[in-house]
Amino acid sequence: MAGWARRRLLLTAPFLILLSGCAAVPATQQGGDVHSLYRTIFLLAAPVVVIVEGFLLWMLWRYRRHTDEEPPQSFGTKRALVIFFLIPTVIVGVDYGFGEATLASVDRIDPNPQVVIRAEGFQWEWTFYYLNEGFFTTGKTLTQPAQMEIPVDEPVKILLHSRDVIHSFFVPSFLFKRDVIPGRTNQFTFTATRLGVYKGQCAEFCGLYHSRMTFYVHVVTASDYSAWVRRARNAALHVTCPSLGTHVRVTAKNTQWNTNCIAVAANQQIALSVSNQDPAIDHNFAVYDSSKRTKEFFQTGRFPGVATKDFAISPLPPGRYYFQCDVHGPAMSGVYVVTP
C-alpha cells in the first residue's frame, strides 16, 4: 500500500508544477493585473490541494487495516463543524478581496483613449472601424483573418457590436475576453505594453465556422502606427479598376464579393446582376456616398442563396462611391467608381 501512496503522489506533483508556470505572458497592463491575481489564487489554492491530498494519502497509509479491532466511533462535534465552516470562509474571504480589487482595475474605462475602435463581429469575420481616423479594416472569411493595428503604451478603447449572433472578442495574451452581443454595446479599454503580433479568436460558439473566426492584433510603436494609419487611409482612397460599361455582374461567395472595385459609365442606367452563392445566407447590394453611408443611392432587397437576381441602377454623376452588402457591412464592401 505504500507503493500505492507513492504512485499517487507522483501523479499529482507534476500537475501542480505545470499549473503554476503556464499562464500566458500578458501583453497588456490589465492582463498583467489578471496574471498577478491568477498567481495570488494559486498561492492560496496550491497549499489547500497539497495539504488535503497529502493528508489523504498519509491517512491511507497510516490507517490501512492492521487489526480486527473496531476503530473509535467518532460522530463529530459542534466545535468541529464550526471549525470546518470557518477555515473555508477565511480562505474564500481573502480570495474575494483580491478578486474585487483586480476586477476594478480591469473594468476601469479610460476616459481619454488614444484610439477608439468599433469591433464588429458577424458570422464569421471581424471588422475594425477606427472611429477617429475614419476607416476600417476587415478580413476574408476562411482565407484571411482581420488585422487590428494599435500603438503600444496608449490606452485603446474597444466598442463591441454584433451584426447577427453572440460572439466573443478574445485575445489570450491580453488575458481578456468580452462577449459581442446583438442589441448591446459592450466596451472596455486596455493599454498594450509589449510590441508584437497577438492572435485573437471568437470565443463564443457562433455557428458553423466559429473555429475559423480568428484575427490578429499588431502592437506597434506610435510612429509605425501613424504611418500605418496613413497607408490604410490612402489605400482606401486610391483603389481603381477598369470600367465595365453599363453591365455589371457581382458574385457573393463565402461572405465575400468577387471584387472590391466596380467601375461603371457615368450618367447611364446600369444593368446589375447579383449572384448569391452562399446557401441560406442573406446578402444584398447597396451603393452609398462613402463608407460613412450618409446618403444612399441604390439598394436591393436581401435574398438568400443560391440565387441570382437582376436590377437596374439609376444614372449617377462621375465620382467615387461606396458599395456594400448591408447584411455583412464593410467586410463585404468596395469602391464604386463612376467614370466620366
Binding site: 489547500v48 491517512m59 483580491f98
Partner: protein
Amino acid sequence: MAVTEVRPAAVAPGPSRRSWLLEWLTTTDHKRIGILYLINSFAFFFIGGVFALIMRLELARPGAKLISIHLYNEIFTLHGTLMIFLFIFPVLNGFGNFFVPLQIGALDMAFPRINALSFWLLPVGGLTILSGFVTKGGAAAFGWTNYVPVSLQGGTGEDLWTLGLLIVGVSSLLGAINFIVTILRMRAPGMTMLRIPIFVWAVLATSLLAVLAIPVFTSGLLMLFADHRLGTVFFNPAHGGNVLLWQNVFWFFGHPEVYMLILAAWGIVSEILPVFSGKPLFGYRGVVLAFLLITALSFTVWAHHMYATGAVELPFFSATTEMISIPTGVLFFNWLATIYKGKLRFEPPMLFALGFIAMFLIGGIDGVWTAAPAVDFALTDTYWVVSHIHYVLFGGTMFGVVAGVYYWFPKMFGRMLNRKLGIWHFWVQLVGFNLTFFPMHLLGVRGMPRRIAYYAPDRGWTFLNQLSTVGSWLIAVSMLIFLWNVLAAFRRPKDAPDDPWGANTLEWATTSPPPVHNFDHLPPVRSERPVRDLRLAAAAREGSS
C-alpha cells in the same frame, strides 16, 4: 449490463405466465425500474462516450481532417446533452430508485406507476434528440447550452432537441416529486429524518432542486420553440427580443442542475467511506446542513456563467459563488474526518470513493480561479472550463457512480464483481482521466477556446491535445474492463451474501437480490446504522451464549 441476464427468478413467482420481456416492460417494481434506469443510462453513456472519442481523434491533429466541421458541432452538442440529461442525472436516479425505498424500509416508491412513466419517458426523450441526425440539416449543433440567437438558425434537429429535453424534463420532474413524497411519507417506523441514510438526504436535496429548477427550464424551452417556429420574439434580438434572457433562464436552471448532477454522488461516497473505514459518517448533521445550504445557494450563483457578457452584477455573483464553496469545503472536512483513525479496507468501492475525493478536490479548487471575474474573463469559454466541468462531473460524479456500482452490484444482482478487475479498472480510469482532462487546464491557459473543430498548427496546442486524446482511449479501455467485469459476473452463479461489506444501512438487511416485497422482516431502526446495530446485537448474543 444485459437485460437478458437478469433471470426472472429474482422476482417472486406470481400467477401470471407473461414472458420476462413483458414483465420488464410493464414493471412498476422500483428495483426493476432502477435497473432499467441504469441500463438506459449506460446505453446513452456509451453513445456520448463514442462522440467524445471521435472529438478527441479530430482534435489530435491541427486542421479539420477526420470529420466535417458541421458533424463535429453536432457531436459536441449531443455529447454534452446526452451525458448531462440522459446519463448522469438518470444514472443517479437509477440508484435512487433502487435504493431509496430499501434504505428507508419502504415497500416501493410512493407512486409506482408514475415511477414507470418517468423511466419510459427517458428513452423516448433521448431518441427524440438523437433522431435529429436523420433530418435535413442534421441534429442540434449549438452546444448543450444552445445560446440564442445562433440556435434559432437551426432546422428540425433543433426542434427535436427542444422537444426531447421537454420530455426528459417531465420525466425528471415526476421522478423528483415521487422521491420527495416517498422520503417524507414512506419511512419505516423509527426511521426519523435524522436517521435516514445520507444518500437519501442527497436524493431529497436533488429532488428539491429539480422541482424548483426544471419548470423554469421547461418554460424556457417552450419560449425557445415559440421563437423558432411560431414567430414570437422572447429572445430574438432582430425583432426586439432579449438575447440574454435565454442565458439567464438557462443558467437559473443550469447551475442548480450542476448540483443535481453531483449531490447524489456525494451521497454515494458518504455511504461508502464510513463502511470501508469502519466508522460512522463524521458530522452527519453537518453534512445534511451542507447539502441544504448548497441547495439553497445554488439558486443564487447562475450568472457566474455570464461574467463575460458584461451584463451581470459581478460583485454579487462572485460573492455568492465564493460562498457556495464554503459548505462544499465542509463536506471535504467531514469526509477526511470519517477516514481519520479509521480501519481502511481498499475494496473497489472504496478506491473509487477515494478517487472521487482526490479528483473532485481538483475540480472544486480550479473553480476558484473562474469564480473571480477578472480571471474568468481570461479563462471562460476556454478548455479550462472543459477541464473544470470534467473534474467535477467525471472525476467527481462518474467516480462516485462507479463506486456505487461496485458497492451495490452484489445487492442488485446477487453477484460480486471481481475485485482484481475492479482494482485494474480503478487505476486505468484514474490515469486515463487525468491524462485526458489535466492537459485541458493548460490548453485553457494558452487560450484554446472550447467548441472549435479546427485549430491552426502554429497555436502550440497540438501536443497537449494529443496527450488528451491518448488519455481518452485509456478511459475507453477502463470502461471495457468495467463492462467485462459486469458481464463476467453474470456468467457465474449467485455468490453474494446479504451483507458482503459489513455495511450500515437497511438495504443490507434483506437478501441479495431483495425479494419483490423488499423485506421479510424489517429490523428495528434505533439509529442511523440499523444493520450495524443488528450485527452488534448478534455478536453480543453469540458472546453471551
